[in-house]
Symmetry: C2
Subunit: 477 residues, 2 copies
Amino acid sequence: MAEDSGVLPPKENFSEWYNDILWRAEIMDVRYPVKGVYVWYPHGFSLRRSTYSILRELLDRDHEETLFPLLIPENEFMKEAEHIKGFEEEVYWVTHGGTSELDVKLALRPTSETAIYPMYSLWVRSHADLPIKYYQIVNTFRYETKHTRPLIRLREITSFKEAHTVHATWEDAENQVEDAIALYREFYDRLCIPVIISKRPDWDKFPGADYTIATDAIMPDGKTLQVGTVHHLGDHFSKTFEMTFEDENGEQKYAFQTCYGISERCIAALISVHGDDKGLVLPPEVSPVQIVIVPIIIKKRAEEVIEAAQQLEKELKDAGYRVKTDSRDLRPGAKYYHWEMRGVPLRIEIGPRDIDNGVVMSVNRYGEKATIERDNIISGIESRLEDFRDSMTERALSHAKEQIKFASNLEEAKEAVKSGVAIIQWCGSEDCADEIEKKLDVSVLGNEVRLDFIDNKEGVCPICGKPAKPAIVARTY
Amino acid sequence: MAEDSGVLPPKENFSEWYNDILWRAEIMDVRYPVKGVYVWYPHGFSLRRSTYSILRELLDRDHEETLFPLLIPENEFMKEAEHIKGFEEEVYWVTHGGTSELDVKLALRPTSETAIYPMYSLWVRSHADLPIKYYQIVNTFRYETKHTRPLIRLREITSFKEAHTVHATWEDAENQVEDAIALYREFYDRLCIPVIISKRPDWDKFPGADYTIATDAIMPDGKTLQVGTVHHLGDHFSKTFEMTFEDENGEQKYAFQTCYGISERCIAALISVHGDDKGLVLPPEVSPVQIVIVPIIIKKRAEEVIEAAQQLEKELKDAGYRVKTDSRDLRPGAKYYHWEMRGVPLRIEIGPRDIDNGVVMSVNRYGEKATIERDNIISGIESRLEDFRDSMTERALSHAKEQIKFASNLEEAKEAVKSGVAIIQWCGSEDCADEIEKKLDVSVLGNEVRLDFIDNKEGVCPICGKPAKPAIVARTY
């Protein structure tokens, strides 16, 4: 399908590398004839499936999955004025069915608040109905006028996981925000991706929210990619959509809400944070192929080697691994190249000498070799994959730490944001943020930064000299 | 959420029963403010998830999952003239992004041929690339002007599984059609739903197909519901989209294609074929809750009973069952009613006397009771669920056999289609089909009928007197 010929550009040319790896590793085809929408290749889709399985597993602990319609009637969509302001330039409108014009225009959901909350207002009656914690995984649409980019800036977001919760009190909703942050942390831990969690400035929060907590990953070029947001909606939407419940004293009260989302940007981060000059590097849990077996065939004993490979494949499949044997008539080197590009965590080589010695050779995606006793193959592979996973986490974390620099003044910050993210003191005012953004050509992502290796100790704002707290500033996607 | 109050209308009033069970059993909420689109409740969505897991499992044996865009540009959509004729009155058009008019109108896919095949024409290069067998599960859209009905006639089909294959020869495509039919048969076997497979008349085939094989279920009112179609596309689309490949002799040839789809109508059939006056009846494999435990609490030994129920729940969960304990402060009868409505295959009652006797009482959804030894609880439950599944299949099959009547003349057929499906001889001509359809107020669904209990022996067409073969005629959804 995609050809293997040619070589990936070095990862330091990140933009080229990214565009190239998408088709070379068969993640997406960008040749679909509509701007900003793309096609998932089977290999890419398989990666998406495993990744979203983790998200489902985490959410299913105490959420339930639902599905709401794509089409939102104009009148419902327009109810929420502040919300609309954030989206009005970005909404696709369906105006015709067949050859006739529709009575009411229909928006393609850019996000589902205005599709879901009219139903919630029917469902929420009493305090006994609360909390409600539902989610859905759907396609959403934005008419992006900026430069589009696969998985990152899309007109059809194919994989938007959005959760919407309803609570009796503001504090319950606040607790839910914290639960959601913990859930997103766990999700990115499973993907071995370090994330920065911070509170977005007020002018950058979700339209209609009391506040927004965001999750950002750092891309190889030092720009940040927002890969998850959690919003406390207060009773803002609940007032618009008349979502009231009878509390324990028989009084009607407005409910409080949260919503939080993750899109296929999580796949963009997965590719970009871990990949290298040879291709994808994938955590075993989500890799479409976890183990590839390459039989090393020498004429005399070809049949024996192929049989040994097939037997091994069967055992590994029975043990629950996603495994492939590459028996194509190609040089081993070409096979290695092929599977490295696709990020396979572990390669098993098996040749006549290995059979004689009762071992197999294993090579992880970082090129680290180790022989495994054939008799203990399952436990041997399990521990190699676990070690590999741990290495991925360590490497990604140590790289992220290099990318994050503490800056004690604007000069240092300016230097830091050339290749990464700067943490500087900021008083919290919009004027000072504007100044910082202009001077450094960055965005102030947020404060109340949650990173294990920094504490939020107070300092002085470099603009106004007032008391300040650490904030993340960076160039962003 | 949905209230339990009130009673389901009897199933013999099928239309009322169907509308009612959807909300009482928490499948769908029909109150969304756009005609023909509906909301999946968590319970309904869970049923959908399990059902589509089976479909994925069957397809994943030799297909791969992909994802193509929803939006199809007008020019691509219009390329396939015959195909368009079938859809032009039914397509939703996106004409605006934000406040600006789009240069090229975008169709919401009614089905994805014109989204997928331009990409296939890039991917198919050589005979070595074939066959291609990809599928996707997506939302598709039809601007239905007829009466809409949840899960059956929709404007947003939320769960369209469509597979699209490419082959080197017409015969390879024909074999794929047979494989797909076998797959759909297996799928409906897993759901305990008997289906009629037949070849649609030429004028009723998929627009652009060489021929169409359809899968129909018989609803309680005797009308048939088309719950799957398989199309041999010949090289029709491949010529339109220039899908050529180099064969083994180095010549460029047009490829041959098939496509086949199943929508959430499979859920409509699941509900309608098995349900009864008390609610849903679900096969254990897809039921959101497979076992409900109802502790029978007597004051004195309340704690002991609750503990025993919790212990049992834990064991069953560890054994992989989806199980719930209903400890609400309600009469047992109210709990039975609640879980019967939701189709739970097996109820376990556990009270003080059961504890003393080392047993539990099990009651399946048909009300059949059996005690199970507490010591052999897992194997006891396994065999009860298997037996229940077998009963479901038997009951559904024997009911379907009652609904299908062989008619040796039009009078008999007229009588038969009042409550079910008639099999009559038909010569295959459109004129005679028109006559039959007019006289009986039915559709001629097709001939080459595949049902284990009929043979396709020749007879005489009741209209023209020419040689004929059995055909299915029925009122249809």
